[in-house]
């Protein structure tokens, strides 16, 4: 009759975590929006891989049954929806991602508004962690990522918190994705995708343009479609009236 050892009571600690996630906001007509999404994915395959995405249905307001179909359609494209917001979803729909309320736009002000300990634990999911393990030398003044080593072929630099400045060359077969503008003080030979979070005002600047592709907020232009006069020259690329313009830098 040995008595059982007393069960130790382990206190369970709840901790707060904050993450920055992409928000996808579909708009009607849904077919066109999905087609646009497919174009984006075609140009940047693997862009959504491993990134948490929140589905903002405030604009679309689909019927409850259609939500599941939309989540499935996104999953088929490799986009994992972690949460839904902007819609009233009935409690019966259990296998949908959880409904979120109170999400905040991820601006610097928004992050600072939280008290210090929580923001210290904030782990931005879309931080600049390049796929090929290249270490950008961070002179990260608030939101700008400065890279002072050449960006080698095969590297992918993603920075969804602002601008990216590259002090060297960007090689073929590498890519820079930024929510803000991209400034290359060298030769751009790879791909530059600015305004990747929906920012229409982002621009791409480079000292010498030999880019494979430039894009601002999804509007892209490949090397083939660029004027020969703009190849090898200092250019800027920006959106003007809904079209991507490539112009020389004076």
């Amino acid at each position: 009759m040995t008595s059982a050892a007393p069960i130790e009571k382990k206190a369970i600690r709840f901790r707060a975590r904050s993450f920055v996630a992409f928000a996808l906001a579909p708009e009607a007509p849904l077919g066109e929006w999905i087609a646009g999404l497919d174009r984006w994915i075609e140009n940047s395959p693997g862009f959504f891989a491993g990134r948490p995405v929140v589905l903002d249905l405030a604009a679309l307001q689909p019927a409850t049954d259609d939500v599941a179909a939309l989540v499935a359609a996104l999953a088929a494209r490799g986009i994992r929806v972690y949460a839904i917001e902007g819609i009233e979803v009935g409690a019966a729909v259990n296998d949908l991602p959880p409904l979120l309320t109170g999400a905040r736009e991820a601006t610097l002000d928004g992050l600072l508004a939280r008290n210090a300990p929580a923001s210290a634990e904030a782990v931005p999911a879309a931080e600049a962690v390049p796929a090929a393990g290249q270490k950008p030398v961070q002179a990260k003044s608030g939101r700008t990522l400065t890279v002072d080593t050449p960006v080698r072929s095969g590297s992918s630099i993603v920075h969804m918190e602002g601008d990216v400045i590259v002090l060297g060359d960007v090689s073929w077969g590498s890519e820079i994705v930024a929510s803000g503008s991209i400034h290359v003080y060298g030769t751009l030979r790879g791909r530059a995708l600015a305004g990747a979070d929906g920012n229409d005002h982002a621009r791409i600047f480079c000292r010498r343009n030999e880019a494979e592709l430039v894009a601002v907020n999804g509007w892209y232009r490949t090397a083939e479609d660029m004027e020969p006069a703009h190849r090898g020259a200092a250019i800027q690329a920006f959106l003007d009236g809904g079209a991507l313009v490539v112009a020389p830098l004076k």
């Binding site: 393990g133 270490k135 080698r152 095969g154 060359d169 073929w172 077969g173 030979r189």
Partner: protein, 271 residues
């Protein structure tokens, strides 16, 4: 404690094995103890180029798997007694190499030799990654043409991210060795200019090796070109490159077309 230098390129057929043999022989001729390690498991060539293919008993995989001692597997060169070769296996494939095994072999070689030159296979997969993993320095072999330069750039990216040194936050010292440079074709614009290559790769230049028939002759007789024809322009360029590897500062001479007027008239090549 020696230096581990990986000779790599990404692209195949640009001259890694030839350069490993030539540089290794040049370094050993100055009295340094040099070990050449062939990482191209299954497609080994370094033993052929060194003329040791009939003396291979044990190879790198045997040592890793504990079937042979390192001292049994190392083959001493018949011409230079400070030059040794550790051959690759011809019957296995790259999966037989383990990271721990390679780490141990390299560490033991490093204790005994001044230079350990690792001849990497082509590509960016496991074999190439293991060859570079424990390197202190890297020599990136590049032909002056676009696809080779692109692949070299990719390899440089891997050197900066997948080596032990890079993972520790240290910088691995890199050099570009331009091989098969043809002055004629460069003059006609058919080959990339050296400046273009260096501008794209942004890595210091170790040397420029001219295209030479001597290289083929040397590998046919099983000797590094620096031993077989030391006065050949390619051999001399390799010897200069070896001196730069050892730390000397030598100006790099761009090989020019040395054919005289008569040779040009009769279309003979000097090298």
């Amino acid at each position: 404690m020696g230096k581990v230098i990986v000779v790599t390129s990404g692209k195949g057929g640009v001259g890694k094995t030839t350069s490993t043999a030539a540089l290794g022989a040049a370094l050993a001729q100055t009295g340094k103890r040099v070990a050449l390690v062939d990482f191209d498991v299954g497609l080994r060539n370094l033993d052929l180029v060194m003329g040791a293919e009939r003396r291979v008993v044990f190879d790198l995989v045997n040592v890793i798997q504990g079937h042979a001692k390192l001292s049994q597997a190392l083959i001493r060169d018949k011409r230079i007694d400070t030059l040794f070769l550790l051959a690759a296996s011809q019957t296995r494939d790259k999966d037989a190499l383990t990271e721990e095994g390679v780490s141990e072999v390299i560490a033991r070689l490093n204790q005994v030799f001044d230079y350990v030159l690792c001849d990497s296979p082509a590509g960016i997969e496991r074999g190439a990654q293991l060859a570079m993993r424990f390197a202190d320095e890297a020599v990136i072999i590049t032909n002056p043409e676009v696809s080779s330069v692109r692949d070299s750039d990719r390899i440089i990216g891997l050197l900066d991210s997948r080596t032990m040194k890079a993972e520790r936050g240290e910088e691995i010292k890199k050099h570009v060795l331009v091989t098969r440079y043809d002055a004629d074709r460069a003059a006609r614009g058919e080959m990339l200019a050296i400046d273009d290559v260096l501008e794209i790769l942004s890595v210091p230049l170790l040397g420029i090796i001219p295209e030479s028939q001597g290289v083929l002759r040397a590998s046919n007789v099983g000797a590094p070109v620096t031993l077989n024809e030391p006065t050949n322009p390619a051999a001399r360029a390799y010897m200069d490159a070896a001196r730069r590897l050892g730390g000397e500062t030598l100006p790099v001479v761009v090989p020019f077309d040395k054919r005289g007027l008569f040779d040009r008239l009769f279309r003979r090549k000097a090298a």
